[in-house]
């Protein structure tokens, strides 16, 4: 019972923190489960993918309704992310835990670098991922822009899917810059479209983990419920919190976690 409560609370924190910072929570769930609860990396990744689907679908419902998510673009790029996630999910089952931990440490370090750089440049990290409660239906009813470099973006989305299937994150850290910088879509559309795609991508990766037995139902249930609750709380308070200090705290925490994951990879922890 106390373990269940701890798991649910961890999910709550990951969901709230992830929503406040526009990350979805997957980047926090894997290290929390691995380092805090000594869950094997593959089981943590499988559980995280399920949580990522839950947070993505909740937010996407609002984004799609408000016309912020470009469904057509999301599905086109989804073809790339799904193939990438399938590959990632299969490869993750073949890689040793240490390699997965090392790859995750690299992803964490990259995320901390990206968010830290954004904060130093005067932004508050990536644009908050609109969620079910935070978003308002004020977007355009139809995206009014023309995207470019579609073939390159589909290739890039394969990489995003691979990262998602391999490491249990949404892949938004790759797809948002891809849609915004490479394809030229407005940031708001890029974030919302990426959020829509994340559920599709994570599902493709999750099947391999679910059927392989890499998702523990007793562990996943409280975490999924906690993440869903945390995402709702995060969305509710997101407008009232100045995210500057939150980003700074996040960067420090993520760098520490990256160090711990790296230690686990080399076998010292």
């Amino acid at each position: 019972m106390p373990l269940d409560l701890l798991l649910a609370l961890s999910g709550l924190v990951a969901g709230a923190f992830g929503t406040l910072l526009g990350l979805g929570g997957g980047i926090l769930i894997v290290p929390i489960l691995t380092l805090g609860f000594d869950v094997p990396v593959t089981a943590a990744v499988g559980t995280s993918l399920i949580c990522v689907i839950a947070t993505s679908t909740g937010g996407a419902a609002v984004n799609v309704r408000a016309g912020r998510a470009d469904v057509r673009l999301g599905i086109m790029l989804g073809a790339g992310t799904v193939v990438g996630a399938l590959t990632g999910g299969v490869v993750a089952g073949l890689l040793p835990e240490r390699i997965l931990a090392a790859l995750f440490a690299l992803l964490l370090a990259y995320t901390a670098f990206t968010m830290g750089r954004g904060a130093i440049r005067g932004r508050s990290g990536p644009s908050p991922e609109p969620t079910m409660e935070a978003a308002t239906p004020d977007g355009p009813s139809e995206p009014a822009y023309r995207f470019r470099r579609l073939p390159a973006a589909v290739g890039g989305s394969f990489v995003a899917g691979n990262v998602s299937g391999l490491l249990g994150v949404g892949g938004g850290i790759v797809t948002v810059p891809l849609i915004h910088l490479l394809m030229g879509a407005p940031m708001r559309i890029a974030v919302a479209t990426s959020n829509f795609m994340i559920g599709i991508t994570a599902a493709a990766g999750a099947y391999a983990y679910l059927f392989r037995g890499d998702v523990d139902a007793a562990l996943a249930a409280p975490v999924v419920l906690g993440v869903a609750g945390g995402a709702a709380i995060g969305a509710r308070v997101s407008g009232r919190i100045r995210p500057g200090w939150l980003v700074a705290l996040f960067v420090v925490v993520v760098l520490y976690v990256a160090f711990q994951m790296a230690m686990r990879a080399v076998g010292s922890s």
């Binding site: 839950a54 469904v71 073809a79 139809e142 679910l210 037995g213 562990l219 249930a221 419920l225």
Partner: protein
Amino acid sequence: MSGERGAYDWLRDGIALVLRVGTYVAIGIVGIGYAVGLLAGSGEGQRPLVDLIGAGGAPAIIGAGLLGLTLLPVAVLAAAGIGFARGGERGRLLTTLAVIGLLLVSLLAAAILARPG
């Protein structure tokens, strides 16, 4: 133009509805399974989905909820496909069907490969 607009609205509203209802239902099922597990005091371990659902009781309910969550994107894509079909967007309909096919093939492959023997 108004026809295209109507098709787009249908696409948008249909997908949003599937996402919203599906999320609540799937998370609700996980919650019910979790509550049943707490009341019954079952402490099941890590098992493949097929065994989990076959076990009955709380693990089966949780497994069904988790499976429902992972199948939600397929339902969303199906809703999008209907929207594209109504709007006469054949190319996008084919892309959507291809993505649905990929997801279902991966589901099937995962289920088959996970079977012992």
